[in-house]
């Protein structure tokens, strides 16, 4: 097992593995999305307080969770790459960032669209909302730094360090923003949790989260394959792959 793991941490052997796995995750994502949507729209009951608008929850919460979780995974890979100098983990960190930023944006967007009917405002400077916005900035900083450095080794290491700094900063931001907010209770808007969540709602939300997970894995595996090809384009095995796969 340990040996296997070691083997697949080399880009050359991870590349075909990722290629074999990605489609399966794609299919799983599609199936789970269909199930989740069916549960969310046709099985879950209407919320007695929020009406139908609450159905945004089935993408909002999974996206919000994913946005934070992907950042952690990204920072983990970045740290791994820095400490053990493994190329593959740096590729993974790089491949995760755009998808993470995408989910952050989706959670902001759906949150705003939910906030208007529920709170009467597209946006309030609430702790959760603000820290999610800052998370988006952190993703953008990571992506921009990587884009600005030409040397791939330096790019990987510098942005890896940035991801780690950001990971330390995320909890600090989260708590500081919360603090700042509770001290000055503003328009007295708080996240109303509503009634205890119906079991079907919870199931639908979890299924959608799983679907987003599968989607993320599929996209990231495909993207990491591109990274590998690009970075290792001068090695012999890429030449073989290229002549095989373009045929």
């Amino acid at each position: 097992m340990a040996l296997n793991w070691f083997k697949y941490s080399s880009p050359a052997s991870f590349y075909p593995l990722a290629g074999r796995l990605a489609p399966w995750f794609g299919v799983a994502a599609a199936l789970l999305t269909l199930t989740g949507l069916y549960l969310g729209f046709f099985v879950a009951p209407t919320d007695y307080k929020q009406g139908e608008a609450y159905r945004i929850i089935f993408i909002h919460v999974p996206a919000a969770w994913m946005s934070m979780f992907i950042y952690l995974v990204m920072a983990f890979y970045a740290g791994l790459g820095l400490v053990f100098n493994t190329r593959l983990s740096a590729f993974m960190a790089r491949a995760l960032a755009p998808t993470g930023a995408l989910f952050t944006f989706i959670s902001l967007w759906t949150g705003a669209l939910w906030g208007k009917p529920m709170w009467g405002a597209w946006w309030v400077w609430d702790a959760r909302l603000t820290s999610e916005l800052i998370l988006l900035f952190l993703y953008l900083g990571f992506i921009s730094l990587q884009a600005a450095i030409e040397d791939p080794r330096r790019a990987a290491r510098a942005s890896g360090l940035l991801a780690l700094i950001g990971a330390v900063n995320v909890p600090i931001i989260y708590f500081s923003v919360q603090w700042w907010n509770t001290l000055h209770q503003g328009a007295s808007i708080s996240m109303s949790q509503g009634s205890a969540m119906a079991a079907t709602m919870l199931t639908a939300m979890l299924v959608m989260t799983l679907a987003f997970w599968m989607y993320t894995i599929a996209v990231v595996l495909t993207r990491v394959r591109c990274e590998i090809l690009e970075r290792e384009r001068h090695s012999e095995w890429v030449a073989e792959v290229a002549s095989r796969e373009t045929r």
């Binding site: 597209w122 946006w123 309030v124 400077w125 609430d126 800052i134 921009s144 000055h184 503003g186």
Partner: protein, 229 residues
């Protein structure tokens, strides 16, 4: 007459097209200005506190100051690249009037930095709880005002070209000149937000634009000639 008119404009248009192409190649430069704007605007609620009423009141001022700062930070790039690689010198030697070439460069600068700010502003305005009318006027004032910022900033950029402390120096030169734009721009939005008429502010802003359009490129051209002496 006709012919030369077309010829003149074509000089402007060529430079405009070239600069836009270049901006397309360095899309990150474009995005950083926009990000800077967004981040600076988002910093204020964190400093000032989350009460929507206060925020709504100061929103026009904050958005305008942020636009000013974002434009200012992007000025460094306006002529420097062309100066370093000698293109600017060639422009000075061009038989087309330098002020029209400058106009092309400024237009490209505005399209790349000012226009995105204008498009982004309603979203940020929403975050500060501005209403529909105020949002409209905010966009309108930025639409009229940011070209003035680019035109005036170009003068500063031309004057500080190639100087060592350029980046910081330019802010000292340009920010005071930006003050009228800031006052009328933010004033118009505030007026509308508190239910008043903004006509007077807007026409003064328009007058500033006309003034800047007439004299800006010409002054910038003169400043460039001095800097490259």
């Amino acid at each position: 007459m006709e012919m030369s008119g077309i010829g003149l404009l074509s000089g402007t248009r060529n430079i405009l097209a070239r600069d836009l192409t270049l901006a397309g190649r360095r899309i990150t430069d474009v995005l950083t200005t926009l990000f800077f704007f967004v981040i600076v605007v988002s910093l204020f609620p964190l400093g000032v506190g989350p009460e929507m009423n206060t925020l709504r009141m100061i929103a026009p001022g904050i958005l305008w100051v942020a636009a000013l700062l974002a434009t200012m930070l992007s000025l460094g790039r306006l002529f420097t690249a062309d100066y370093i690689d000698g293109t600017l010198e060639q422009m000075l030697l061009s038989p087309q009037p330098l002020s029209l070439i400058v106009l092309g460069k400024v237009a490209a600068h505005w399209l790349v930095t000012g226009a995105p700010l204008v498009l982004m502003s309603p979203l940020l305005g929403l975050q500060f709880g501005l209403g529909g009318a105020a949002l409209g006027v905010l966009m309108l004032t930025l639409l009229i005002g940011t070209p003035v910022l680019s035109l005036v900033g170009a003068m500063g950029a031309a004057l500080t070209l190639g100087l060592r402390g350029g980046g910081a120096l330019i802010s000292l030169l340009v920010l005071p000149l930006y003050i009228p734009v800031l006052i009328f721009g933010a004033g118009a939005v505030e007026a509308v937000a508190s239910g008043l008429e903004a006509g007077a502010h807007l026409s003064l802003l328009g007058a500033l634009l006309v003034l800047a359009l007439c004299f800006g490129p010409w002054v910038t051209a003169a400043a460039l000639r001095i800097s490259l002496e």
